[in-house]
Each structure stands twice: as structure tokens, then as C-alpha cells.
Subunit: 371 residues, 4 copies
């Protein structure tokens, strides 16, 4: 059992999730490498010190480069806004540190490609934080589709819709600004998760046509009303390389949808349905059953399903959001240990970013775009 000294940049939403996961992943999965919460960096030294004390990190810094360059750090987790990822990743490459970077990888595909090439060039383990695809249910979905159990995939209806910015009184932030965030709004914030699911579960996207909208054109800013620069919602039609077609919705203003990451995948022999709001169930339809016994079956996750047993011996006892990060981290640790690339790599993140960029272009030009 060897320790891996982790440096974490960012102490927001995801900084905390990674901290929690780092502390329990070893016991849960009995990993070869055991992570140690070595150093945390945020925008300020005081903030970092405070979070270190509260969350149990050994050291802290207000300068992320200090963290990256510190010889006492073996691997880095980047949990800061996308605008910062490129510099941080390139610094990690220089410092020869494996990286787990939050999604979206870059602010655009060009940035992502630079990161991919740098990491691959340096031969460092690298991973993008697409955690939702890590649930036992989504892993089972992958197995079922790959095995041919539902036949060839023909139609795919997916969405990642939430309502975290539904209220127009919620302030502008890096998420709504191109300068500090990305040109895409919900399209870069939530859609990457479900685009990644499409690529993982169904395969490459060959072409798409997209439409996006800003719903609330201003939000309170630090200096009064601030114009909103990127999309609140949108949808696209997809054609997959394997011939399947489908549609994808995304939103940050979808009233009532809290974790609306859903996929319905129809095949020539059956179908699957998943809703992240009920993340411990996968619905499976088998068209070969007797007509009087056909119907979607609600399979509750349990020890018979991928990665579940490590969390609980009891079927249906359930995993939650943070457990997704634990599974992600287990894979990242394995990647660092073996030196192997572990899915989803930066390249996978780049593939997602290309889809986002194609969608932006399609929405702008109102036309189908090939990938």
C-alpha cells in the first residue's frame, strides 16, 4: 500500500467532492495507491488555509503553481473554472504530474487538443471528470449495449437539464461569462456529461444540428445588471457513425429538473432507460419476451452490478453523488499506478469538446455540421 500525494486546485463545489472521495476511496476499493490529501490551492492563501483546516489537507497555498511545482505532490486534481484549465494542465505537464481535470477540459476544442497533445506527449496519466457515467447503472448500461443485448442501437433520446439558473435573480458568474467561462453556457456546463454518455454508450457522432437560446438576457452582476453571454438552453439532433439517430437537450433553466441527466436508448431487440434523479435504477426492456410478459424492468443496483459491492453488500441500498467521484478516483489512481491511460482520458474530453464546438457552429449558422 503506497501513498500518492495529491494536490487539489479549487475548493468549490467539486473541490469538496474530490476531497471527500480522496479520503474514502482507499477503504472502499482497497486501491493499490492510497491518496493522501497533501496540498490544496485556491485563489487566496487564506481561503486555501481555511479549507485545508476544515477538510483535512496537510498543506495549502494561494498560488496553484506552487502546488504544481512542489516535489511533494505526485498528482494533481484540477477543480477550477474551465478558463484556468489550460495553464494548469500545461504546468502539470512541465512538472510531470498526472492530472485529473474537471470537465469541460478546455474552453474550446483547440485548447483541449493542446492539453491532449501535451499530456500524451509526456506520457502522463490523464483523466476528465465525467462522473455521471460512473454510476453502477450507467456502467451496466454500457455492458448491456456492448453485449448486443438490446440489438443495434437505433434511436437515442438524451438530456442533461437542470434548473440551477432558472431564477433570473441569480447572479452572473463565470458560468454565464465568455471571458471567464466558455463561449457555450449550459452547452459547456451540463451538456458535456451527456455528450460523453452518448459517445460512451452509443459511439462517435457523425453529424449534428443544434439550436441554443439565452432565456434570461441579464442577471445581477457586481456592477448592476449584466448581459448574459452564453446559452441557457438548447437541443440538437444527432446522427451517430453507426447509423443511429437521436436528440439531445440541455438546460440550466429547466424548471423542476434537478439532475435531469436521462438517456433512453432504443435498439432492435430492446431498450434502456436511465434517469440520474433515480440513479440506483436502470430500466431494461427485452423485446424477445412473450408479449404478455413484456415491459420495462426496474433493475435496482446491487452487488451483481459494476462497482457496487465495494459500497454495500445490499441490493438497493444505494450509492450517491460522491460515490461517483470515488469510482472516478479509483480509476485515476489505477492509471497513475500503471501508467495506463484510463477512460475517460483528455482525448475523450477533447472528443466531447469537438461536439460542443460543432454545436456552437451549427446553432450560429443554422445548419447541419459534420464531425
Amino acid at each position: 500500500m503506497k501513498e500518492l500525494r495529491i494536490g487539489l486546485i479549487g475548493a468549490g463545489y467539486m473541490g469538496k467532492a474530490h476531497t471527500i472521495a480522496l479520503q474514502s476511496v482507499g477503504a472502499i476499493f482497497e486501491t493499490g495507491l492510497r491518496p493522501r490529501c497533501e496540498m490544496i490551492a485556491t485563489s487566496t492563501a487564506a481561503g486555501a488555509a481555511d479549507h485545508a483546516a476544515r477538510w483535512g489537507w496537510h498543506r495549502s497555498t494561494g498560488d496553484w503553481r506552487t502546488l504544481v511545482d512542489n516535489p511533494g505532490i505526485d498528482a494533481v486534481i484540477i477543480a477550477t473554472p474551465p478558463r484556468t484549465h489550460l495553464d494548469m494542465v500545461l504546468a502539470c505537464v512541465s512538472a510531470k504530474k498526472p492530472v485529473l481535470c474537471e470537465k469541460p477540459l478546455g474552453c474550446d476544442a483547440a485548447e483541449s487538443l493542446r492539453m491532449v497533445e501535451a499530456m500524451e506527449g509526456a506520457g502522463l496519466a490523464n483523466m476528465v471528470g465525467f462522473n455521471y457515467i460512473r454510476t453502477p447503472a450507467s456502467q451496466l448500461a454500457k455492458q448491456i449495449i456492448a453485449s448486443g443485448e438490446i440489438g443495434e442501437v437505433i434511436q437515442v433520446t438524451v438530456e442533461h437539464v437542470e434548473d440551477y439558473l432558472h431564477d433570473p435573480a441569480l447572479p452572473a458568474s463565470w458560468r454565464t461569462r465568455v471571458s471567464t467561462g466558455t463561449a457555450a453556457g449550459a452547452l459547456a456546463d451540463v451538456a458535456p456529461h451527456i455528450i460523453n454518455a452518448c459517445l460512451r454508450l452509443v459511439g462517435p457522432i457523425a453529424s449534428l444540428v443544434a439550436d441554443t437560446q439565452v432565456i434570461h438576457t441579464t442577471r445581477p452582476g457586481p456592477h448592476g445588471p449584466e448581459a448574459i453571454e452564453n446559452d441557457d438552453q438548447g437541443q440538437m439532433l444527432l446522427r451517430f457513425a453507426n447509423g443511429a439517430s437521436g436528440s439531445l437537450s440541455f438546460s440550466r433553466v429547466a424548471a423542476g429538473r434537478k439532475m435531469g441527466y436521462t438517456y433512453r436508448i432504443t435498439g432492435t431487440r430492446g431498450a434502456l432507460y436511465f434517469d440520474q434523479e433515480d440513479q440506483n435504477a436502470l430500466w431494461l426492456y427485452d423485446a424477445a419476451r412473450d408479449p404478455s410478459r413484456r415491459g420495462f424492468q426496474k433493475i435496482l443496483m446491487g452487488p451483481a452490478h459494476p462497482d457496487y459491492l465495494a459500497f454495500s453488500q445490499g441490493v438497493g441500498h444505494g450509492t450517491g453523488y460522491n460515490d461517483q467521484i470515488v469510482i472516478e478516483l479509483r480509476d485515476f489512481l489505477r492509471g497513475v499506478e500503471t501508467g495506463d491511460a484510463v477512460w475517460p482520458t483528455f482525448r475523450d474530453g477533447y472528443e466531447v469538446d469537438k461536439v460542443v464546438e460543432a454545436a456552437l457552429a451549427s446553432a450560429r449558422d443554422r445548419r447541419w455540421v459534420d464531425l
Copy 2:
């Protein structure tokens, strides 16, 4: 209580549904006009006579023109394949008979327009059989949206997907042939219902981009394998005149979906969700409630909701498929009685057919189409 002598053309799936509805609508809604099952026509005299005996029609004929021209018939219900609608409707206009015609109204928008103009010119009551929009739940949805209760509609995700042709061993029929059916497949067979719902609940569609596919390229025909001529499935992006955007899926090969007519309508103050497979419930989200008490509310239909009380005094006791036709018929009877046009009129059917036609063009040319 005056009798209205009905002539019905067609004794298939919908012929039976209309027969059932005709016999009970009077007692259920205590209608002013009471329909009498006067004469039924099918393709053959023997078949018609047989159905008359089994279903309780007073007379029968193997020639629909006999029925239309018969002075003992006051109004006509057309429940035959779309390819036959134009001739029948024009004959009814000549004979000055009000018509309730099954969907889709025409084989294309041009046909529909001819029918609209003929009926309107003659000042005859006319209606298209969009029954799904008749449920108490969908009527309630209409009320809720119209009242502004969920604010301005911003995103619309809808589908009408079934799996009645999922199995490639199912034979070709008028539904799969352009010559006897329509150029559109599922797009003309199931999609019209949900397009109609969009128009009813959200308003006119300004533009769309569509994609369609044939999944099973041949099916057993009378003379061996027969090439399938129209779409099995597809999807479109929609822009509504009021600024909302959305997506629509349709399919006749959607494994596991039996009556997958669903709509999710998101507004600036709340949202609605409906699934026809659970037709007695409407889900409502009110964004104005206290954050700790927010959530989709499952409203079971009851006497407090449109048209429910006539069926039952008990909340949640439930209406079914045939009850939709009863409601439709009640409105048609009212239209005949008052001479007023009753929604959805042929013109509404025409509006739907224009969307279908735009979708065909869009799919063919792979571009956005304005309506």
C-alpha cells in the same frame, strides 16, 4: 333530445372506437343531439353487414358513396386510411354532410387544404380526430399554460413513439406504403398527434429541422419481401413563434414504448409533464414554492378537471382510450348542433399536415425550414 343519424366509413381499429363512443356519448355527456348508429360502410358489403350485426349498426353498405349520399345520414365519420380521405370528404361536402375525419387529414398539405376550403366553403361542421389531446389531463395542461401559471413557455420536449412495427417480421401495409398510405411513415401516423399537441399547448411552429430514418428496409409483403417506402422513426428541432424551442421524436419501432405520447413543457415559472401511458395524471412543478417544498406534483384526474365528472365522480378512478373518443364526439355533436367550427377543425389538421410536410422537406434537404 334529437337524434343525429351517423354514417361511419371504416370498421378497423378506429371504426370500432367510434362505434363504442357513439353508443355511450349521449348518456355520458347528456348531449343535445343523440347519435344513432345508422349506417356503416367498409370495403365490402359482406364485411359491412357483418360489422353492422356485431356492433349494432342499423344498416350497412360496401360502397361508401351510398352511405354519404343517403338522405338518412346526417353526419359522417371517416375512419379509413388517409389515401381515401380526400374523395370521401369532397363527397360529403357535395352531400352537405358534416364530417369527423380521422388523422392525418390528407396525404399531404395540398390535399388537406382542398378539404379545408371545401368544408369551410360549404359551412359544414368539421373536425379531425386528434383524440389524445382530449384527455382531462391534456385539457388541464392547456388551461394551466394558457393561464400563465407556468409563465412563458421556454422549452418543449415531446414525443410520440410506439413500437407497433418494431418487429421486422410484421407485414407491410398501407402504413408503410406511399401509394396507399402517405409519403411520411411514423411522421404521418403518430407524429401528427404530438404536433397537434404542440400547436394546441404552445402555439404555432415557426421553423424546424428534421431527420428521418427507415430502420427495417423490407417487410413481408403479399408477394415476398417488400421495400419499405416511408420512415420508421425520426426527430426534429422546433422553434415556436412565441420564442420557445424544443425537440420532437416520433417512431413506430421504439421498443418498449407502447403509447409514448409524452410532453414536457418548461416555463419561466414552472413546468408540466405528461405521459399518455399514465393518462390519468398530470405532473406540475411550481417554481414559486419554498425551495424545501418544491417538486413535481402528480395530480390525478378527478371531477375538478375538464370533462372528468361526466365519466366518474371519483378522483383517480380513471378514464381510458375510448373515453377520449367520447369527448371528441361530444364536441363534434355540439359542432353539428350549433353549426360552429369545433376545435380541432380541418384547418387545424391542415396546420399539422404543413408541419409534417416541412419536416419531410427538411429531412430530405438536411436544412432548417420556415413555416
Copy 3:
């Protein structure tokens, strides 16, 4: 196709349901006997005449004995409060008329037994109106259990709970009065349906212990507050003759439950779940499936299930409350036609009433009671 001239007593909640069913059952099931809505009786001549006009009955009377004795009536449907059933049934026996009587058959088991013996003695077709057990889903449940598909039944958890008297401001009525209703309240009004389901699906009940309560001790009466005389809610433990055990809840004050007739039946090889609020689905669990593919399967009713096809060719299109009465009536007509007893006969109603009576005794004496 022979006509059967029906006399209906009662024009309330159930009077209307029977009227609707009478008018469409012939077309739906192509019955041998076709019912004719001949004569309706209510408490007053004017009321009866009014209902006849509105609902399409040929004749009417304010005196039910006139109806029963009328030679132009071939069979009688009794849809009046339980307190009136005994006299009416005995009169029908004298007049040699087959009877379909609403539940509960008698005000107590002794009354029921008198009716059973009279009808059986006269060899007349007789049936009790347990309509909920008529849904395609509950018929399928019966088939599945009888076939051994879920093994031996071991535990049964059922309820019939509604909230039609939840509001204490709702007035007293025959339902709450012993003098005009029954000594049992919800126990005689809703519980009989689910007791009947237990007997049908699982078999005879060997012993029980029950508990009942009045929640709202007074309600508005015609002369001010009126003391409530029978139970608002209760529950019982059951032991079945076949060794299974279970519990049963009933209520007329169960806030939020509209048609809460649910059963969960667990066997040694699987389990079933049904909820009348979603009456077109039956949930089936098969314990023999591979552990990674186990889960309750939501089977939507369709033509492959009992009695569905007559209503619709489309799976999941759905039946509703009144369709249950149609199925019931189809069986009653068959019984009249063949002279055979058709389940559930008066004797079945008596078996239910014995359970109700045992529950009353058990609740009063706070002890287990054998049946």
C-alpha cells in the same frame, strides 16, 4: 342477437356507470344478449323520469317494485344503498329476475346469506358488483398466481384507501349512518373490494384480527352536527387457508389516496404489485432471473392480456373505470344467457360480508377471529 331488457334501480354514482356500460357492452364484446335500457327507478318518479331522459332509458318509475314486477323487464341491476338491497333482491327472486347487485351485498352476513339462498333456490343468475377485480391487470394477476408463476403465495399486503370523506366538513350520508347504511363504514364501503381481491387472488381467509377507528366523530347533518356511527379507517392482519399471511388497510379519510386499491403479493418464486391509480400496469418480479437482471417489470396492458383487445388493439392505450363495469356486465349477460352462475356470485359477496363481519367482531373484542 337477442335483446335483454334491463331494469336499473338507482341513478347515483353507480347508476350512471351501469347505464354507460349497458349502452356500449354489446359493441365492445359482441355479446350474445344485447342489453336494452328499458326502465330506470329512483326514489321519486320525477327524478327517475329526468334520468331516463338524460341517459336514454325508455321508461322510468319512482317505485322500484313496479320495475321489478314489470313483465317487460328481463333482468335487474341494483345500484342503491346497501340498506335497500335485501328487499329488492327478494322481490326480484319472486319475480324470477336475474340480478346484478352492487356491493356490499347485504348490510350484514345474515342478510347476504338470505339473498344467496333465495337466488340459488330460484336458480337465477346473480352477481355482485366487484368491478375493480375486472381490470385486465387484475385478471392477469389472477392468471399468474394460479399458474404458479410466482410460486406459493407467502405474504400479502393490500389496501383500499381513499379520501372521499377526508374533509370533516363533508356531510353525513347513508355511508356514515348505521340506520341507512351499514354498521361498518369504510370497512363495508371500500374494504369489500379488496377483501374480494384477496379471496380471488389468494384464496379463503382462515382468521383475522382487525382494528377500526372513527376519525371525524361528527359531520354536518340535516339538523346540525351529526354523530358518525361507523368507521373511517382501519386495518387487519390476515391468515389465509393456504398458509400465507398479510395485512389489509382500508380508509375513507386517507389524504391524497384517490383510488388506493393496491395489492402486493409475494410468492416463493416472485411477486406482483398493482395500484389501481395506474390501472393499466401490472408489476411482476421473477426471482429466477439472473441476479444482474432482476427487478420489477412494468407490464402495460394490451391485446395479449385478458379482455383488453375488445377495447383497443393498441398496447398501453388504456382502459378506465367504466370499462370495468363493461367487463362485469359482459359476464352478467353471459350468466343470464347460459343460466350459469358467474363469478363473483352472491355467494362470493356473502363470503366477503363474512370477512367484514368477522372484522367488526374482532375490532370490537380486540382479538383474533376464525372464519
Copy 4:
């Protein structure tokens, strides 16, 4: 931030859950005391050493007394079969160590009372591991009921049913043996959780009548078929001190139910429903809403609900089984820190055990039992 050196006895199902929780609770809740995984004990020294290495405990022992008496241990978690609890607890009292003990507290109420008196006499923090009641949803249920939001509770329908021993081929174990487990089977293994929920959410139980059954009378034992000594399933009727009545089911052989801990609590103004298989949702019915807007509302847990924010800022992102233990542990740490008794204390465990014992007596004597 002070460390608390924890000793854990037991490395089975619950031993692992406590280990995981111990490692992340500090970061999640920023607790005053930070637990340190100091020493673990199991039945054998080798097993303990192995688990220590795999799970990250600093020391290990094959003799739990060594652990309890070790001055380097500040508090003890007991996660061994019930038969061992009494000795361990008494030893902890002698050693002046606060204890978190798994449920059921004792093998019978007398044992539990001894433990209560010993702990209370010594003034040590003590808690029983009723984790299910810790979910944000169940805490919210408690708040809602306590605030009077659903009025006075009138009917309570609850269950804790699973199918972990549904298969008769599963071997006998301490769970099925009186000598090493408890006289009650499922009644002592799963029922305590839901009894505890009743006491917590509704209040003291005044009387009950219970029924229990062994379904599989033998199971494979180490020396061939072994007779099963305690109940597989059962149910009871409950009367609460506040006048509410209800029923409770429990089972370890309930095919298809994986985590069937559900409660439906009906009040004079509304109702609540919860199902642990969908642990991130609470269903609330408000009878005061307009009749056309009434229905159960599915509230997804989020930062507005008890203890959720510490896990995630996102509504509906979800907590899982192990997070329940984290919340439990947070409270235990607080109890140790402040010296205060923290609910549910040993006394609460004793109250549950009294209900279990009353149920055993009731089932044996087939009569109502007062508590």
C-alpha cells in the same frame, strides 16, 4: 480540530460502512472531533490485521477486550452480531468509553435495559445505529410531521421488507439462529429500523398485535440441513399513544424488495410517503390546496433539506447508503464532544427492543399486547 481515536469491533457488512464513514465524516461535516481509524478487532488476529491493512486502520487485534481496554482508544463502534453486544458494551462502560452500537441493541429487552442503565449510570455518550432514519428525506419527514404541516397523524402504514434470504438455498447463519442471533428473525433484523421510524416520526406505540412466520423451515447448515429458529416474515397492527393506528410488515424473504423500508403517514391535513429504494425523494400531499391542484409532490432532496448541503450543493444529486452512516457518525462525534446524549440513544434502542419483544409475545399468544 481534535482527533478522536476510534476502535471498531467487527469487519463485516457494517464494519466496512463505519470505516468508510469515519474517513470522510470530518471533511463532509467539518466536525469538531476528527475520528482516527485507530484499531480494529474481529474474531481473529489475522482477519483483523488483514482488514486493517485493506481499510487503513492503524492497529488491529483478534481480541475485542484488548481494543476496549486500550488507553489509546477514545470511543468504540460495535458492529458485531447482536449476541455479542451486551458483553462488549459492559466492557466499554468499565473502560469509560462512549459507544456507538449497531442495532438491535440487545438480544432482548432485558439485555438492552442493562446496557442502557450501565451507559446512563456512567454518563457516557451512547447511540444505536439506526441509520435509515438519517436520510435528508426522513429528517424532513420528521420536521414536517412535528410542525403540524400534515395535521394530526391518523394512519400509518409502514414496512421493512427485503429479500436477502428469499432463496431457501441460502445458508443458515447467526441471523437465523436463536443461540447466536436473536429469538426474533426478520423481526429483530429489519423491523427495528422501521419500528424506530414509527417511534421517531409518530410517537410511542401503545399496543400491538403481531403475527410471524417461518417460510423456509430449513436451510443449509455446516452439518447438513439446519432447522430455522426464527421468523422470516410477519406483520403487526399498531395503536399509537396519540391515537393513530397502523400496520407494519417485515420480511427477509420478500421477493423483489431490496430495500423496502417505506412509510406512508396520513394526517388530518395531508400525508407523506417515503420509499428507501428511492431515498432522495419525499412525497408530500397537502390537502389544503385547491382540488384541481392536489396531488402527491415528489420533493427531491437538496441543500434546502436537513444535512444535504454538506454532501452536495446540487439538488437531486443524491446521497447513498454510506452517507447515512456519515450523518450518524457526525451526531455520535458531537455526542462524544459535548457529553450529551444524542438521539437515538441506547434508551431509544431499548424502546425498539420492547416493541420487538411485545410482538414476539403477541405472535406467540395470538393477542393484543399493551406496551
